[in-house]
């Protein structure tokens, strides 16, 4: 037997109803029967959502029955558990939703004495629990005493789908949208009828549109030509799958009309226009990926552009300053448990400060003795980088640290169904631009910037004009280091926070600065972003490793062509 994949064998199982083997598989797949069950749950819980008080009054909970329901969950076989979930969905128990949620979260467990409990916090060796039936707190229990009711992904999907259908009737638009999203491609004959009614009453345009599409996919599968009109222009992958199937005409037994050439042609035509738009979207996506990678490179390199470009110091410990910024973020989150977002925001000034102070220490401790010996600053700061790494390894831990991504930075925003931009990277992109703008302002508009430029151009002259070159050196180095710290704060949201963090970025940073032209912040920006885009354009075509190699070779050749980078500092060539 062959089934339309998105519906899965489950649909057929529900339809055939007799095939034992299919039943076995049914519980592992998203099935439409499950939606039907969920609908019935929705009727119960949906009511309780809209009128909670009334719902509670109308369904007195029976603890003995509840115990039977839960006990059915405590079996090894996941298919059997699926049936038990089904039973809970069907029960009128008002606590059912809580149980399902706890089950979904893996917090529904059975204590040694046979009671079912909900674990409130499952970190550490002893966990606080409460009774699943009465809701009373039962204090702490050792994990040895507790047996978890395990679920797997199939059950997790089953639970989610059930809750999604319930949410279709929820008051909250967000929940309805999410549930409408889930129904795409999962509508069958059982759901088609109720769905049509829901669409009529749905006030939110987006939810309605989604539901219309969901229904249209079902209608298309039934061979209905008009359904294609509702699907035209949608970029959602499931719509595309449905159209592709209709276009190929390979869907057997769907309906006699399934191979109807008119439907197939119409579907093909709709599909073609969708593919065109998808190509555009992919290009936009690649550009975004490139810019986002580029922004990371810019962030990592811009501090280096200051210390290297302005001061002529080759700071190999730059990567470790980035690492310090990232560890500062981690430390802030440790200091402010439960408030990762606030901690992250506070980490921006803190990361800057920590890295800047470290930078000052490096400048005073080592670099000031190596004035005018750039290649030797390279060696000395390389030593510092080793020390800093090992310091973190022995002082904190050789293991990576967990930095939590705050809620508002997780996920992505959907531009359309095919293109969504990940939020964390968007924030980093924005952050990079802001940092760049602020740096430009500092260099162009402040006294420090003026002095820095003066010292860069003619140290002796600047000194004779009353600029304290030493102080300018310290400030410049602190600024460059602080910006590295900022990069670390941003990187903590993208990658590992561990002792090797810095090493992964130092070579790339140098490439960006050299490519852009030393001493030119604009060069760094352009170089970073363009290298990012080049890399991401090459990657699908050449693979990640080759893309990197190609970029490196490109830089090497480019430097041969233009030894001073993209934006060289012009002027009468220095003598001697």
């Amino acid at each position: 037997m062959r089934y339309p994949p998105m519906l899965g064998p489950a649909t057929a199982g529900a339809r055939a109803g007799t095939d034992a083997a299919e039943d076995e598989r049914t519980s592992h797949s998203r099935g439409s029967w499950l939606l039907a069950l969920a609908l019935s749950l929705a009727l119960v819980l949906g009511l309780s959502i809209t009128t909670p008080a009334a719902a509670q009054d109308s369904t007195p909970d029976d603890d003995a029955a509840a115990m039977t329901l839960l006990e059915a969950l405590d079996v090894d076989s996941f298919p059997t558990k699926g049936e038990a979930i089904d039973a809970i969905v069907h029960s009128d128990d008002s606590r059912a939703r809580d149980w399902l949620q706890a089950l979904l979260d893996g917090r529904l467990q059975r204590a040694g004495d046979g009671r079912f409990v909900v674990v409130l916090d499952n970190t550490g060796r002893d966990w606080p629990v409460q009774d699943a039936l009465s809701g009373e707190p039962l204090g702490q229990m050792s994990r040895r005493e507790l047996d978890r009711i395990g679920i797997n992904n199939a059950l997790r999907n089953q639970l989610r789908s059930a809750i999604a259908v319930v949410d279709l009737y929820a008051a909250d638009v967000g929940l309805r949208r999410a549930s409408a999203e889930r129904l795409l491609g999962e509508v069958d004959s059982d759901l088609a009828g109720p769905l049509a009614e829901v669409i009529e009453e749905e006030p939110d345009a987006r939810v309605r549109e989604r539901l219309v599409q969901a229904l249209a996919i079902y209608r298309l599968e039934q061979g209905e030509l008009q359904a294609i009109d509702d699907l035209r222009g949608s970029l959602h992958p499931r719509v595309r799958v449905a159209l592709a199937r209709a276009a190929s005409g390979t869907v057997e037994s769907r309906a006699a009309n399934g191979d109807d050439p008119i439907v197939a042609d119409a579907a093909r035509e709709a599909l073609n226009s969708i593919e065109q738009m998808l190509k555009l979207n992919r290009a936009a996506e690649t550009l975004y990926f490139g810019l986002s990678l580029g922004s990371v490179l810019v962030l990592a390199a811009i501090g280096l552009a200051i210390t290297f470009g302005v001061m002529g110091v080759i700071n190999m410990a730059h990567g470790e300053l980035i690492m310090l910024g990232a560890y500062t973020t981690w430390a802030m989150q440790q200091l402010l448990p439960g408030q990762p977002g606030l901690a992250l925001i506070l980490a921006i000034p803190a990361g800057f400060l920590v890295a800047a102070l470290a930078g000052i220490a490096i400048e005073r401790g080592v670099i000031q003795f190596l004035k005018g010996r750039p290649l030797e600053t390279l060696l000395a700061t390389f030593g510092i980088s080793l020390i800093l790494q090992q310091l973190v390894r022995t002082g904190i831990s050789p293991l990576n640290r967990t930095v939590i991504t705050p809620e508002w930075m997780s996920g992505s925003i959907a531009v359309n169904d095919a293109l969504s931009l990940t939020l964390n990277r968007m924030y980093v992109l924005g952050f990079a631009l802001v940092v760049f703008a602020v740096l430009m302002l500092i260099m162009r508009r402040t006294r420090l910037g003026l002095e820095v430029r003066a010292v860069t151009q003619n140290r002796a002259m600047a000194r004779s004009m009353g600029i304290r070159a030493t102080r300018v050196d310290i400030m410049t180095f602190a600024l460059g280091s602080g910006v590295a710290g900022l990069a670390g704060v941003a990187l903590s949201q993208l990658t590992n926070v561990g002792p090797n963090l810095g090493q992964n970025y130092i070579i790339d940073s140098f490439m960006v600065v050299v490519f852009g032209g030393v001493g030119n912040l604009w060069g760094t920006l352009v170089a970073g972003l363009s290298l990012g885009v080049i890399n991401q354009v090459l990657e699908p075509w050449a693979g990640a490793v080759m893309a990197k190699i190609i970029v490196l070779v490109f830089i090497i050749l480019f430097i041969q062509k233009r030894p001073r980078g993209l934006f060289p500092q012009k002027g009468r060539a220095a003598e001697g």
Partner: protein, 380 residues
């Protein structure tokens, strides 16, 4: 006066070559005697393990000499010499792989094991010829030499100098590392080349062969040293120093600086390749991590510690640092990176002339105290 350059005032030590060769010969003889003539268990006995260790140090020393030639005398801080070392090592590794013949686990007469289980059906063209020792040994020199020639031609022609050059040499070795990590390259990917059996018909797993390799490395070091010495004491060597200190001036004197740079860079790369080729049979494995930029920077530290622009200093530095590494990573693994990092800082800040500089200073003081100034001409 530019103080940063003054410490490089007299790059050419006088009797150092003879003393160096003497010490090297004495050490090689001593180790051989203690290994062969003293019974195991005797406190003076030098075990095969130690002989092997010394052999490794000597190949590192040769590498350091090669780096010193370009950095000390030509002023090019190459952060990519590990690449030439590794390429020489790979050339040797390919020869040793082919020598395994059908004794690999799959018993394939031609393909190395890693190719069999990654389903290569025939030997890639660039593996041809490596079953012949003369070809492989030639490649040990030619492959790094050719890479240096091409890279140097491009870089020096367009006058990429100083920091820029350092950074693109780093990019070079980094790119090569990534490339060699790729299994498609046909060099064994991350696992590299290993499980060698014999070299020129000698069993690599016997202590006699290891002693032989140690001695061969010593001889190679001596020859490499003499060659470098000949270069740096020639007029060409003085042109190198001139280029290092005032490149534009040298150009205006009519020297095609980029050709001199290319020549010395290529010679140095070939020496590094030779060092790599001697290193591989002694440690029994070559893998892309030898290409890592970190290793290349470490080589520079050996030279800096020993004393830049003194060939014997490079040897001292390589042996000192690696001996310290052996001891430290055994005794206090955590402290090793602190020690290495601290060395980098201390040497560059407080000991710019390295160990050799300290010695030279001592000698000069004694000489100055005698009131006799050696106004020796460079023609010696």
């Amino acid at each position: 006066m530019d103080s940063s350059r003054l410490w490089l005032l007299r790059p050419f030590g006088e009797r150092s070559t003879l003393i160096f060769l003497g010490v090297l010969l004495a050490a090689m003889t001593l180790v051989t005697l203690l290994h062969v003539a003293v019974p195991p268990g005797h406190p003076l006995y030098v075990s095969a393990y130690t002989v092997n260790l010394f052999g490794k140090y000597l190949s590192y020393a040769l590498l350091a000499v090669a780096v010193d030639l370009v950095w000390g005398y030509l002023g090019i801080l190459s952060l990519g010499h590990g690449a030439f070392f590794a390429l020489g090592g790979y050339a040797m590794g390919m020869y040793l792989m082919r020598q395994i013949g059908d004794r690999g686990v799959y018993g394939h007469p031609v393909l190395p094991d890693f190719m069999v289980f990654l389903n290569w059906d025939s030997l890639p063209w660039y593996w041809y010829g490596f079953d012949m020792a003369w070809f492989a040994f030639l490649m040990v020199l030619l492959v790094p030499g050719a890479l240096a020639l091409v890279f140097g031609f491009l870089a020096f022609r367009s006058r990429v100098t100083g920091v820029y050059l350092s950074i693109i040499t780093q990019a070079l070795t980094f790119a090569l590392m990534l490339a060699f990590f790729r299994n498609e390259m046909g060099f064994g990917g991350n696992n590299g080349l290993t499980d060698f059996r014999e070299i020129l018909g000698f069993n690599l797993r016997s202590s006699e062969t290891r002693l032989g390799l140690f001695l061969a490395t010593g001889v190679a070091l001596a020859l490499g040293y003499v060659l470098c010495r000949a270069i740096v004491t020639s007029k060409l060597g003085r042109v190198c120093v001139a280029t290092r200190d005032a490149e534009a001036r040298t150009r205006f004197l009519g020297y095609r600086v980029e050709r001199f740079q290319l020549f010395v860079f290529t010679v140095s790369a070939m020496l590094a390749g030779l060092a790599g080729a001697l290193y591989v049979p002694q440690v029994g494995i070559i893998n892309p991590s030898e290409f890592s930029p970190l290793f290349s920077i470490e080589i520079v530290l050996w030279v800096a510690l020993g004393g830049r622009a003194t060939l014997y200093g490079a040897v001292i530095g390589a042996i000192l640092v690696n001996y310290a590494k052996t001891v430290f990573t055994g005794a206090m693994p955590d402290a090793w990176l602190f020690a290495l990092g601290g060395l980098f800082v201390l040497v560059t800040v407080f000991l710019p002339k390295g160990v050799a500089g300290l010695l030279a200073l001592r000698l000069r003081r004694r000489r100055d105290a005698d009131g006799s100034f050696s106004g020796k001409e460079a023609s010696a």
